[in-house]
């Protein structure tokens, strides 16, 4: 067996952790992912330091917090510095054959760094996120069978769970408790039409021959069906690895860049807002040769910035100096006791410009710019009493809110100084898409 493991990094865009059985969901959306978790290690509390897709994937590949690498918005002006270490590039330099089965390089050029092979079956679609897990798997499996002569690093980025939610027709009937999906008297989604992405959904994928889909429970069922479809893809990829004899020494990491708000916090089927439904992400690792104890669950806080250093250490690569994340490899393979962070910090600057600071009990959210939903600029949630983050207690606990704000600002200032920044990137970028939202509202 080769000394260095193969590594497959799977990113399931917009996959919300608590819609998976292994993360406690009551519906059978993920039997294969659950089985996969049972063969490896599941991390219960991994958080995205930046959302949505572009900031988060930039963090995954650099091991840096968005305040460090500067990419805080989706579609923002900031570009990743050429000198910033990039996971695929470092692995390539260390003898790995690298392959991305992915479309991200079409969004931002730095996602093309370090790949000897880029395979993009989405070219067959008008909208690249319409590419399916079957199309991606076809190419990924073929590549694994035919190309690598030594250790390889493959990145597969599935878009199935990202909107538009258009699962294959054979899933019709699943996860919907009944009712009338197109009841014209149901106005629960009307507020969504005030948002450009909601209006797009209304004008396209929510239209059916029976009328407009108006029942949020039905939209959630469509989302869950997409998860079930993705789940089949994970099983197919897993089977292919087994058949190729690659399963034993291939570290497979399944994660999401961010979760998804269903209708939580008046955010409809999208991925902004710094609530746990969106910033807490599933992370599961299987690596039989790494002696992972099957079914292990890790409870400490970790962040997506820990992924790059962990994979680099598993590959035997030297870690670049300027990473914010910390490798959890020794814990993963049972050489150390599980540890993590006391608190995690993240940000967004696309539809909203905000930071969050979260510890095991509380979350504090600070807006740099007032949001368009009318939320206060400072929100504090007691996650023990209010895990859904529905009741802002900032006014009831002003001292705690002030302390957390002070701690957050000190952290941002220190991180900026370390990165050589003179301006907070979230303030600098601003909520890049909000002008369009305002125009849409008219």
């Amino acid at each position: 067996m080769q000394a260095k493991p193969n590594i497959i990094l799977i990113s399931a865009d917009s996959l919300r952790a608590n819609h998976l059985g292994c993360y406690g969901y009551s519906l059978p959306t993920s039997p294969n992912i659950d089985a996969f978790a049972g063969q490896g290690a599941l991390f219960e509390k991994v958080f995205a330091p930046g959302i949505p897709t572009q900031p988060s994937h930039t963090t995954i590949f650099t091991g840096q917090h968005p305040v460090t690498h500067g990419v805080v918005a989706h579609g923002g002006k900031a570009k990743l510095g050429r000198g910033t270490p990039f996971l695929s590039e470092v692995l390539l330099e260390n003898g790995y054959t690298t392959c991305a089965v992915d479309t991200l390089f079409r969004e931002r050029i730095w996602f093309g760094r370090g790949w000897e092979y880029i395979i993009d079956p989405s070219l067959h679609h008008l909208f690249y996120a319409s590419v399916t897990q079957e199309e991606l798997n076809d190419r990924a499996i073929h590549w694994m069978k035919t190309v690598p002569k030594g250790p390889f690093f493959m990145f597969i980025h599935y878009w199935d769970v990202h909107y538009p939610y258009t699962p294959p027709d054979r899933f019709r009937g699943q996860f919907y408790k009944g009712g009338n999906p197109t009841d014209p008297d149901n106005h629960e989604l009307d507020e969504w039409w005030d948002h450009p992405v909601g209006a797009m959904a209304r004008d396209t994928w929510l239209r059916t021959a029976n009328g407009l889909i108006t029942d949020p429970n039905y939209v959630t069922a469509l989302y869950d069906r997409e998860i079930r479809y993705l789940d089949e893809g994970i099983a197919a990829l897993s089977d292919a690895l087994e058949k190729q004899g690659l399963s034993e020494n291939t570290m497979v990491v399944l994660l999401a860049d961010h979760g998804e708000s269903m209708t939580d916090h008046r955010i409809f089927y999208d991925h902004y807002g710094l609530h746990d439904c969106t910033v807490r992400v599933p992370t599961i690792i299987r690596w039989p040769a790494g002696n992972l104890k099957p079914g292990t669950r890790f409870a400490p806080f970790r962040q997506l910035s820990d992924i790059a250093p962990t994979l680099l250490e598993a590959a035997g690569s030297e870690l670049p100096e300027d990473l914010d994340g910390k490798s959890f490899l020794p814990q993963l393979v049972g050489k150390e006791e599980p540890t993590g962070y006391d608190q995690v910090i993240g940000c967004e600057s696309t539809w909203q410009s905000k930071y969050y600071l979260r510890n095991s009990r509380y979350k504090f959210i600070l807006a740099r710019v007032p949001d368009l939903l009318g939320n206060p600029d400072r929100e504090l949630f007691d996650l023990e009493a209010d895990p859904g983050e529905d009741h802002n207690i900032a006014a009831e606990q002003p001292q705690l809110a002030a302390e957390m704000e002070k701690e957050l600002e000190a952290w941002i200032a220190a991180k900026m100084e370390a990165a050589g920044r003179t301006e907070d990137p979230v303030t600098k970028e601003g909520p890049v898409a909000v002008e369009i939202w305002e125009q849409h509202r008219g």
Binding site: H74, G75, R106, E107, H125, L126, F127, Y128, S130, P164, T166, D169, R170, R172, G173, Q174, Y176, G178, P181, T182, P196, V197, A199, M200, D203, T204, W205, R207, T208, A209, N210, G211, I213, Y218, L222, V432, A433, I436
Partner: protein, 57 residues
């Protein structure tokens, strides 16, 4: 060369006709649900809107 999607308006887009009989023999609940199809013109409109948002280039 990447194909530019055609501009599409709501008025241009014909509403698809309902299927005569949904074919989901293993799933009786499916017969009560609408067929959901993302037509090429819908997909083009998604691309157009996301371009406007700066989400894609």
């Amino acid at each position: 060369m990447e194909q530019e999607p055609q501009k599409q308006t709501m008025a241009d887009a014909a509403v698809p006709q309902p299927p005569a009989k949904p074919e989901c023999p293993d799933n009786p609940a499916a017969s009560n649900e609408p067929e959901q199809v993302l037509r090429p013109e819908d997909e083009a409109l998604v691309v157009e809107r996301l371009r406007e948002l700066g989400y894609i280039e």
